[in-house]
């Protein structure tokens, strides 16, 4: 038994921690801006890159991938070497990982603000960045597994299982959901269309929550909570059960984002069933965390780190109780498209991810700088500000959600809708203001933390390396007689990786394969035709401006929705939609049947100044669409790409596409001229009007035909 000397390198965890807090503040600032924009549309500043539709993806991506992402890497790069008694495998890879990830974040935020987006929620980054993410993720994986293979501790602690499963699942999700056909350097079309695209997107979207925001953070919890409480995790046995059941069940839950949509019924039911089951493993994890503190509650009173952890784990419990409830179809009928979803995700993000990160930071910084925390009192103040912020954020959103549901679904005794959509928008504004105040208070707490941690670092001295020693692992390991098979898995990282992949792969395979194979899942509708070139260009402007952030294109089969918007949406209507644009939140009305509802001039005036057509609207103005010339040099490659994806444009259509485009644009311009609006036909707004006027038209034609044939 030869003892070897080695050192833990604290430089990378320190860098990741700084990045976590920096991007956290940036992401929350973006969130604050969009929160206030919903109440005060003037804050969109009439500029393309400060407008809600572009800033909201920056907020979501920054919080998920920059704040929580760097938080994950902080936890892994600090805890993995200590759990395995070996330094990280390669310092070069660590550095590539760190700087590569920050570069992706910076470039990603810039491209989003410039309007380059795939329009798939939380996967908005365009194809070159998708490739870059994959490369950096692989670098991280190699570094992690290199560390695991050169370890001096045979047993893999439960936190590491969560890291491994998270890594492999995120890789799978990201690659499958990022199948896209590049059209140009920063533009691509999703490989999938309509219903399939929606299913793949939410299979990804929900599991981004599962395997990016949850499982790696559970790993973090399993390491930092026992360390901070100075006592072992409540039940190691429960952690094993928790792990396998959680990763197995989570994958299936995606379709609960598509209840009552055009997604086939069987997939919706499957999603609901598994979402309800998800309650058990999630609560197993929560209880395991909370029970760890049994007998240590006196410490919680003293120690701000534990305070943050307790509320984080409690918020995790609340979110994971609420999630299954929201997956019940009758509850989802109320919550879908409403602010309830927003409240739900923020209990998770602000409470679980945020507080766990802050707890980790308060625990880590004094240790990295071998000193004590500058001010415990200030940390406690941060804790209360944060908690108050969460409460002030969530309650108005819940209230708003129910209020909007009751208003939307109210009918007069004569059978008319009682409220216009604009009435609902107006009554939401006070809640939006309260929510933004809640968010501001939360951010104030974060700034307090930054001050506290900087002061802490200043009074200490950075501990670059920590010396350690441990015997090397014997090559030929003979398990003691009487050890059992799960204990074997706990010693074999590759087996753990493969088994995790099988377990998470199952749910994905069983949902996706039938949706792609079974023709009857997407009934064809004869009258549904591909978009004209001008409409296709207009659709890309719709995508660029992020309209899907506030407008859905999916009417659910409820009386109040059909009365308000028109015939409910059918699966066959979306077969040429790469990507789909169903949306998941209705800040504005649904647009699935907007075509033909208003004259061209209405759309023209509305995009120039929404308030002129809809007094009280909170929609931003889009003046640049009236100045920018439509780039028709891209038409050719767009038509070509669409044909490759299976949209039936005739061979050689590219040659005449721009002719047709100009013809349609001239028609619209003439139409506008009748209403005394002068504009040249080569502006972007013309294409957008063409697209909006096309929405839902195809199926309206079919209804008329079927009536005529009777």
């Amino acid at each position: 038994m030869q003892v070897e000397k080695f050192r833990y390198d604290n430089r990378i965890p320190k860098l990741f921690l700084i990045a976590t807090i920096f991007w956290g503040a940036v992401g929350m600032l973006a969130g604050l801006l969009i929160a206030f924009q919903l109440a005060f549309p003037a804050l969109n500043f009439d500029l393309p890159f400060t407008t809600f539709g572009r800033v909201r993806p920056v907020h979501t991506n920054a919080v998920i991938f920059a704040f929580v992402g760097n938080g994950i890497f902080t936890a892994v790069y600090y805890s993995l070497p200590r759990l395995l008694k070996t330094p990280m495998w390669s310092n070069t890879l660590s550095k590539i990982h760190f700087w590569g990830w920050q570069l992706i974040i910076a470039v990603g935020a810039t491209t989003l603000l410039l309007g380059y987006t795939t329009a798939k929620e939380y996967a908005e980054l365009e194809w070159p960045l998708d490739i870059a993410i994959t490369v950096i993720w692989v670098v991280f994986g190699i570094n992690m597994f290199g560390t695991i293979f050169t370890r001096r501790e045979r047993h893999l602690y439960v936190a590491i299982w969560f890291y491994i499963a998270s890594w492999v699942t995120v890789a799978m999700l990201h690659i499958v959901n990022s199948f896209e056909l590049p059209v140009s350097l920063l533009k691509s079309y999703s490989w999938y269309a309509g219903v399939q695209d929606a299913l793949v997107q939410w299979w990804y979207g929900h599991n981004a929550v599962a395997f990016f925001l949850t499982t790696p953070y559970l790993g973090l919890m399993y390491y930092f909570l026992p360390k901070a409480a100075e006592r072992p995790i409540y039940s190691y046995r429960l952690s094993i059960v928790h792990f396998w059941s959680l990763i197995f069940i989570y994958i299936w839950a995606g379709p609960h984002h598509l209840l009552y949509t055009a997604l086939p019924e069987w997939a919706q039911s499957l999603g609901t069933a598994f979402s309800v089951m998800l309650l058990l493993p999630s609560w197993g994890g929560m209880l395991n965390g909370l029970f760890t503190l049994r007998g240590a509650w006196d410490k919680v009173r003293e120690d701000p780190v534990l305070k943050f952890f307790v509320v984080a784990v409690t918020c995790y419990g609340m979110s994971t109780f609420e999630g299954p409830m929201l997956s019940l179809k009758n509850v989802n009928a109320i919550s879908h498209y409403s602010d309830w979803t927003v409240a739900h995700v923020h209990i998770g993000a602000l409470g679980w991810n945020g507080f766990l990160t802050f707890g980790m930071a308060y625990w880590l910084v004094p240790r990295l700088f071998s000193t004590n925390l500058y001010s415990k009192k200030m940390a406690a103040q941060h804790f209360w500000l944060g908690t108050l912020g969460i409460v002030l954020y969530a309650i108005p959103m819940y209230w708003a959600a129910f209020r909007s549901y009751f208003m939307m679904s109210a009918f007069t005794p004569e059978g008319q809708l009682q409220y216009q959509f604009i009435d609902v928008v107006q009554s939401m504004i006070p809640f939006y203001i309260l929510r933004a105040i809640g968010g501001s208070i939360y951010l104030l707490g974060v700034l307090l933390m930054v001050y506290n941690l900087v002061k802490t670092a200043k009074q200490g001295s950075f501990l670059k390396f920590e010396e350690a020693e441990a015997p090397r692992l014997e090559k030929a390991y003979k398990p003691q007689p009487g050890t059992f098979w799960h204990a074997v898995i706990e010693r074999k990282p590759t087996l753990l990786l493969v088994l995790s992949l099988i377990v998470v792969g199952l749910g994905g395979i069983f949902e996706l394969i039938p949706t792609f194979l079974v023709k009857s899942n997407v009934p064809t509708i004869a009258s549904v035709k591909p978009y004209t070139p001008l409409e296709l260009q207009g659709r890309d402007i719709y995508i660029r401006e992020g309209c899907y952030n506030c407008h859905s294109q999916m009417i659910r089969p409820f009386r109040y929705e059909v009365t308000r918007y028109g015939e409910y949406s059918k699966a066959g209507e979306f077969v040429y939609d790469h990507p789909f644009q169903w949306g998941s939140k209705r800040t504005g009305p649904d647009l699935a049947r907007i075509g033909g509802k208003y004259p061209d001039s209405w759309h023209f005036n509305h995009m120039l100044d929404p308030e002129s057509m809809a007094p009280g609207s909170v929609m931003p103005k889009y003046p640049w669409l009236f100045e920018n010339k439509l780039d028709i040099s891209t038409t050719n490659s767009k038509i070509h790409a669409m044909r490759k994806l299976g949209v039936p444009y005739p061979i050689g259509y590219e040659k005449e596409a721009n002719e047709e485009l100009k013809k349609q644009a001239t028609d619209i311009t003439n139409n506008l001229a009748k209403d005394k609006i002068k504009i040249s036909s080569d502006k972007e707004i013309i294409a957008l009007i063409a697209y909006l006027q096309r929405l839902g038209k195809d199926i309206k034609g079919e209804e008329k035909e079927s009536l005529a044939s009777k």
Binding site: Y8, R82, L83, K85, E153, H155, Y157, V158, Y223, P226, K227, E230, R231, P232, I233, S235, Y236, R237, I240, V241, W244, F248, W266, R367, S370, L463, E466, E467, A468, E469, A470, F484, W485, H486, A487, E490, V503, L506, I509, F510, I513, P514, L517, V518, S520
Partner: protein, 50 residues
């Protein structure tokens, strides 16, 4: 429809397998020593003082 039934049968078999393995492992007393693993992480072998 065929594919769904086929997948259903396979999935029930696999999850049944997981369930049997799990129940067997519990019965077998495989989770009896949870002490070492859970406690090991609390002791860092570093020379630096905390």
């Amino acid at each position: 429809m065929m594919v769904i039934i086929l997948l259903l049968i396979i999935s029930i078999c696999i999850s049944g397998g997981f369930l049997i393995a799990f129940l067997w492992s519990v019965k077998d007393g495989q989770y009896d020593d949870n002490y070492a693993a859970a406690n090991r992480i609390l002791f860092d072998q570093t020379k630096n003082k905390d």
